[in-house]
């Protein structure tokens, strides 16, 4: 009995050692992956900040104004002025498409009083 426990615990120690060894290497692998990803995130963040800076540089008001002037013939852009405000009521909506008439009914529209009662 005693020797059985001894042998079993020896096996357990070997097994645990093997498991710990594998976990150790797997953790190191994951950490290396995390480091690589974080470096990639950092590079992308840096690239994003460069792109943001470029976006801001290309959209600077002076350049946009110049471009609007150069392309005035095609685009006809003018500075935003007070006359450009409209009302919702002045927007023309597309005409409502009516369903086809299938059963025509004769109707007479009477405008005003019926004839014959005029004074």
């Amino acid at each position: 009995m005693r020797s059985l426990i001894l042998v079993l615990s020896a096996f357990a120690v070997v097994g645990l050692g093997f498991w710990a060894y594998r976990e150790n290497y797997r953790t190191q692998g994951e950490l290396a992956e995390v480091r690589r990803l974080q470096a990639e995130i950092g590079e992308m963040r840096e690239a994003l900040s460069v792109l943001n800076a470029e976006w801001a540089y290309l959209n600077r008001p002076d350049r946009l104004r110049e471009l609007a002037d150069i392309n005035f013939e095609r685009l006809g852009l003018l500075p935003f002025g007070p006359r450009q405000f409209g009302t919702v009521a002045s927007v023309s909506y597309p005409a409502v498409a009516l369903p086809p008439i299938t059963e025509p009914v004769d109707t007479i529209a009477l405008n005003g009083a019926p004839s014959g009662t005029n004074p």
């Binding site: 840096e46 801001a56 600077r60």
Partner: protein
């Protein structure tokens, strides 16, 4: 172990035969045995103590070693932490109220040389001078062949220049990574942003420190890693700032002015939406400050904040407003305007003769110095000083610019009655356009004090009350009339109910001794829309001359007002203000007798 018997038979028998006591032998043996036991126990205890000591030594040595390792290694981020680094640059961005970038960072390189590592110092010197025209080949040759071991060549180089230097192929030419502050919009809002430069420099990195403007005011905040790279949001609007600068530049050229300033401010919260000062500069290549002469000649000078001038008739509304608030006059009270008004050896004149009397409203509408002086006499010097102080016209503005505390308004040391009279129409007290904008905001917004700010302040609480709401409403009406049929008729922008007051002040001669006859500072302080003022605009032109007529015209009504009106016409739609039909004064029943 052989155990020694306590009563060995041989010795007992021989002792008995000699007639001795055998117990002595036994006691002797017991003693010897006890001594042996004691010795072995002591040896064991000593061994244990030694082991314990060794264990403690190892433990403490391990702790000490680990502490030493921790102290001597560079700190690293925990690699397993989630999220990753969100701080890209050592200095945070600056954005406008809509989130558009005003200042950001770019990664670039610096160039330095280590001559002892150079293969061909003389050839490299010539090639470098060809790439960078501002470097001198002779000077470089001398440096590279001399005793120096380390030479900074350029602080910032472009990727193209870096490639060209790579192509020289000299191992003694080295690059260091650098972060560069970039202002993508160029000169727009240059005076507010200020600029940045390198602080302490090393080979592998360099500090970026703010040199002026908000960059310097918020230097600590922008560099604080605790903010996690959050950008600094200003109250400026890039589009409106650009429009204001554009129109102001055109106006400055058209009016032949030396300089110009404009402040566009929220009338309630004091948020500065646009603030321009011309001539301006590019903060990417900030010019050096003037070492001699008048600092206001430098483009670095922020006229809107630092330009402390006498602002002329724009001050009249403060005297009239105070008199109305104190109940000394009503808008219809008739005031003596017979000129010239003589006070001691001083004579106060009007631009035109306005007849013997004007109502208080007409004193403002026609801008009568004499009428305002009479009203100021009713108020008295003490109350006037107290009122101007409460409007913030005696202290530096609290705006978040490093230049602001230095721009303290100029006020006379003594305040005799003649000062009360001249200050009432804007002579004797000098303030900046920003001071004027804040004071006008207080006058028209219902009477609460406004502190100008460059930061977003969406839910600002109203400030301390300076004048009553009724008085503020009367003042709004008066200022509207100035534009409708007074000195600022060019300022009317259909749909936006502009109201304002003009001011034309002669410039003082630099070394004292009176005023120039032909140099003025023309100012237009306006608010719109006047029925519920949302924004304050102050336009100030330095030495404008309008030459379309037969004789040069310098008054603000001809110079600053048209520029201000154009700014409002262009900026108001961008501010989201829809042009409104002006509310017509309610029809009143007039008693008629027939």
């Amino acid at each position: 172990m052989i155990r020694t018997p306590l009563r060995p038979l041989a010795r007992i028998l021989s002792a008995r035969s000699r007639g001795e006591n055998p117990d002595v032998i036994e006691r002797e043996n017991i003693r010897i045995r006890h001594e042996a036991m004691r010795d072995s126990a002591r040896a064991r205890a000593e061994g244990r103590l030694l082991m314990l000591g060794a264990a403690f030594l190892v433990a403490f040595a391990a702790v000490g070693f680990e502490m030493g390792v921790l102290a001597s290694t560079d700190p690293v981020e925990p690699a397993a932490a989630t999220g990753g680094a969100s701080i890209v640059a050592q200095r945070a961005d600056i954005i406008d109220r809509e989130g558009r970038i005003l200042a950001t960072n770019l990664v670039t390189h610096s160039l330095y040389a280590q001559p002892q590592m150079m293969v061909d110092p003389e050839g490299s010197a010539g090639k470098l001078a060809a790439i960078f025209p501002d470097l001198n080949a002779e000077r470089l040759k001398k440096d590279f062949t001399g005793t120096r071991k380390f030479i900074w060549l350029k602080k910032k180089i472009s990727p193209e220049q870096m490639q060209l230097v790579h192509e020289i192929g000299d191992p003694g030419l080295l690059f260091g990574p650098r972060e560069m502050r970039l202002y993508p919009n160029g000169a727009i809002a240059a005076h507010i942003l200020g600029g940045a430069s390198f602080g302490r420099e090393g080979v592998s990195s360099a500090e970026v420190v703010g040199t002026a403007g908000v960059e310097k005011t918020f230097d600590g905040w922008l560099r604080d890693p605790a903010n996690g790279g959050a950008p600094l949001q200003l109250s400026l609007d890039l589009t409106i700032q650009s429009t204001v600068e554009d129109v102001l530049y055109g106006g400055m050229k058209l009016m032949n002015a030396k300089g110009a300033a404009a402040v566009l401010m929220d009338a309630w919260s004091g948020e500065i939406v646009a603030m321009a000062s011309l001539p301006d500069f590019d903060p990417n290549t900030r010019p050096a400050a003037l070492t001699k002469g008048d600092p206001s000649d430098s483009p670095l000078f922020n006229r809107a904040v630092q330009g402390v001038y006498e602002l002329g008739s724009t001050f009249k509304i403060f005297a009239i407003g105070q008199a109305l608030d104190l109940g000394l006059v009503s808008p219809d009270t008739m005031v003596d305007t017979k000129g010239p008004m003589v006070w001691g050896k001083f004579r106060i004149r009007d631009f035109h003769n306005y007849g013997p009397q004007l109502s208080v409203t007409d004193v403002i509408v026609k801008s009568s110095n004499i009428g305002t002086a009479h009203v100021a006499q009713m108020i008295g010097g003490t109350r006037q000083q107290d009122f101007l102080g409460r409007l913030g016209l005696f202290d530096a503005t609290p705006v978040e610019l490093v230049e602001a505390p230095g721009a303290k308004p100029l006020r006379p040391a003594k305040w005799p009655e003649i000062t009360t009279m001249t200050v009432s129409y804007g002579h004797g007290v000098a303030a900046s356009p920003l001071h004027l904008a804040a004071a006008y905001a207080t006058m028209v917004n219902g009477g609460t004090r406004v502190a100008p700010t460059l930061l977003r302040r969406p839910n600002a609480a109203p400030g301390q009350r300076v004048i009553g709401e009724q008085t503020s409403a009367i003042i709004r009406g008066m200022l509207r009339q100035v534009v409708q049929h007074g000195t600022a008729t060019f300022g009317d922008v259909p749909g936006y109910e502009v109201g304002g007051k003009t001011g034309t002040a002669d410039k003082p001669k630099p070394n004292g001794g009176g005023y120039f006859k032909d140099k003025v500072v023309a100012t237009f302080a306006a608010a719109f829309p006047m029925s519920d003022p949302k924004y304050i605009l102050v336009v100030s032109l330095d030495e404008p001359v309008e030459t379309s007529g037969t004789e040069p015209r310098r008054t603000a009504g001809w110079t600053a007002v048209p520029v201000g009106a154009e700014i409002i016409r262009r900026a108001a739609p961008l501010l989201g203000l829809r042009p409104q039909l002006e509310p017509v004064a309610q029809a009143e029943v007039i008693r008629v007798r027939n």
